[in-house]
């Protein structure tokens, strides 16, 4: 895998070579991947959700068995422990993305809620009728639909950075989209969940800021797979999600610059997010709790903290190198199959996601045949219908990797694709 270029989506180039790890060894940490002999199972759907290491499951189980209490209000020892564990996870997440302070980390349900929080609390407050929001043609629905809803409500204009034929952003178009000064917010996916494209977030942020727009980065596919440094990137808001980064479902993260979080009104109202409540008016709590209403996903935060630890032990640069090497290998092998088209840019410009079409065989049929062979891939529009529309296809089949993925799993997929071709050729 030595031919793989280093990707540094998150910031400056590091001095040392990435640490490496053996995915076959890593695999032993993931209970679901330990399958009984003779029942092959290749999980190639990590972009949808990742598997979880034993340490994450153990952390949550320990929480429920030994310190399950509601947080922030309990005066007894167990509640103090639960509060400390919850806030400690926040600190670890803050460190992971190099936030200035844990106050900049707001826990949410998932990326989607984090992005909606930005649209509701920041967007509804800061954007005015006639303002424009710049997005890209490769956004996941979660960074598109909230802005459509807001645009309709507030009379905003939506503009789109177009995609080139090779599935990269046409950055030359961005200055034009920003030129009239009406664009006040730029939303962009860091790594596309369909094409694997690594978008130049720092450069986009530079251009956007020069034009007076804030930048919302959808880092759902980058934070789980590569080093991401919010200060080096220079963005203003960033969303990611626990279940794709070896953590549990039910928790996501919004990072945002403190000044913005201080200035914005809150999003959801209720317990926790208040300082004082009277019958007809209330005062808000400090950051980050101002944005955390009601009982939060406590056990899930504890699990996410353990996931961050696990990722950092592996080294996110090593994870990224591994993902990219596997993507390069997959692309190479996919070329062997006639009538197969790989979507997205060249291997050295993408993360561990490879989507493709095979003749006119419907991706559902491909996925069903692969499933019968013990290979789990995703088929459909991957929550990116406009991207598929632009490519002129209704759907695609996608293989995606994480630290536990193996070349042998790619091989199993290739064999299954040959079979699908033979069944459905018409």
């Amino acid at each position: 895998m030595s031919h793989v270029m280093r990707g540094q989506p998150g910031g400056a180039a590091p001095a040392a070579l990435p640490r490496t790890f053996d995915p076959a060894v890593v695999r032993a940490d993931f209970p679901l991947l330990r399958r009984p002999q003779g029942k092959p199972f290749a999980y190639l759907d990590s972009a949808a959700t990742s598997q979880k290491p034993e340490s994450v499951l153990a952390a949550m189980d320990h929480h429920y068995r030994h310190c399950n209490a509601n947080i922030h209000r309990g005066i007894y020892a167990m509640a103090e422990e639960a509060t400390a564990a919850y806030e400690d996870s926040r600190r670890r997440v803050a460190q992971l993305v190099n936030a200035r302070s844990p106050r900049e980390i707001v826990f949410t349900r998932n990326s989607t809620e984090a992005l909606n929080l930005v649209a509701h609390a920041y967007g509804r407050w800061a954007l005015q009728p006639g303002d424009a929001v710049v997005l890209t043609e490769m956004e996941h629905h979660s960074n598109l639909v909230p802005w459509q809803m807001l645009a309709r409500e507030k009379g905003l204009e939506l503009r789109f950075v177009p995609m080139t034929g090779s599935g990269e952003l046409d950055l030359d178009a961005l200055p034009g989209l920003l030129a009239d000064g009406r664009a006040k917010l730029v939303g962009v996916v860091h790594i596309s969940n369909v094409l694997g494209t690594v978008n130049p977030a720092a450069e986009i942020a530079r251009l956007a800021h020069a034009a007076g727009a804030v930048v919302v980065l959808d880092a759902s596919q980058s934070v789980p797979h590569c080093p991401v440094d919010v200060r080096a990137l220079g963005c203003d808001f960033m969303a990611f999600t626990g279940h794709k980064m070896l953590g549990p479902t039910g928790i996501g993260v919004l990072w945002a610059r403190r000044e913005l979080l201080e200035a914005m009104p809150p999003f959801l109202g209720g317990g926790e997010m208040i300082r004082e409540v009277h019958l007809t008016e209330s005062k808000w709590n400090e950051l980050p709790w101002k944005f955390e209403a009601g009982t939060m996903p406590i056990a899930e935060a504890v699990g996410l903290g353990a996931a961050v630890d696990y990722l950092e032990r592996l080294g996110l640069d090593a994870v990224f190198a591994h993902d990219r090497a596997l993507a390069a290998y997959a692309i190479e092998r996919l070329r062997e199959i006639p009538d197969l088209t790989v979507l997205g840019p060249a291997a050295d410009r993408r993360g561990g996601v490879v989507a493709f079409t095979l003749a006119d065989i419907h991706p559902h049929d491909i996925a069903t045949v692969l499933d019968a062979e013990g290979v789990a891939v995703r088929a459909g529009h991957h929550c990116a219908m406009p991207l598929h529309e632009k490519l002129g296809i209704p759907a695609s089949t996608r293989a995606s990797f994480h630290c536990y993925s193996l070349e042998a799993e790619v091989d199993a997929m290739i064999a299954g694709l040959r079979r699908a071709r033979s069944i459905f050729a018409r």
């Binding site: 559902h364 049929d365 459909g380």
Partner: protein
Amino acid sequence: MSGWEEIYRENILEHYRHPRNHGTIEQPDITYEDANPLCGDVLRMDFKVRDGRIERVRFSGHGCSISQASASMLCERIEGMPLEEAKTISREDVLEMLGIELGPVRLKCALLALKTMKAGLYGLGGWPGEDEER
């Protein structure tokens, strides 16, 4: 029999490769289009109705072999059928025509045609047993 052969029985592949009643009708009496939100597949059904019977039915759109085969089989079955009888076709009937077992996700593919037909025949408001067709 290996896994995929259980699903891709010959009858399904046959209907998929040679769909019956594929196409559209100009000036249909009833037309309805639905989509499978899970994958974006789209199915449209056009009906010509005379004397309370489905005189002609055509389907179009795009989808996987299961959704195309089930649309083809359903159309073949209901052409010529009294409207009221077509309305009583159940989810079980469709699964029996297909002759396979499916999990909840692919079930949506299998039932898209039935759902489109019922929405067309009943109008949008929902119909008896609709919940079970989810």
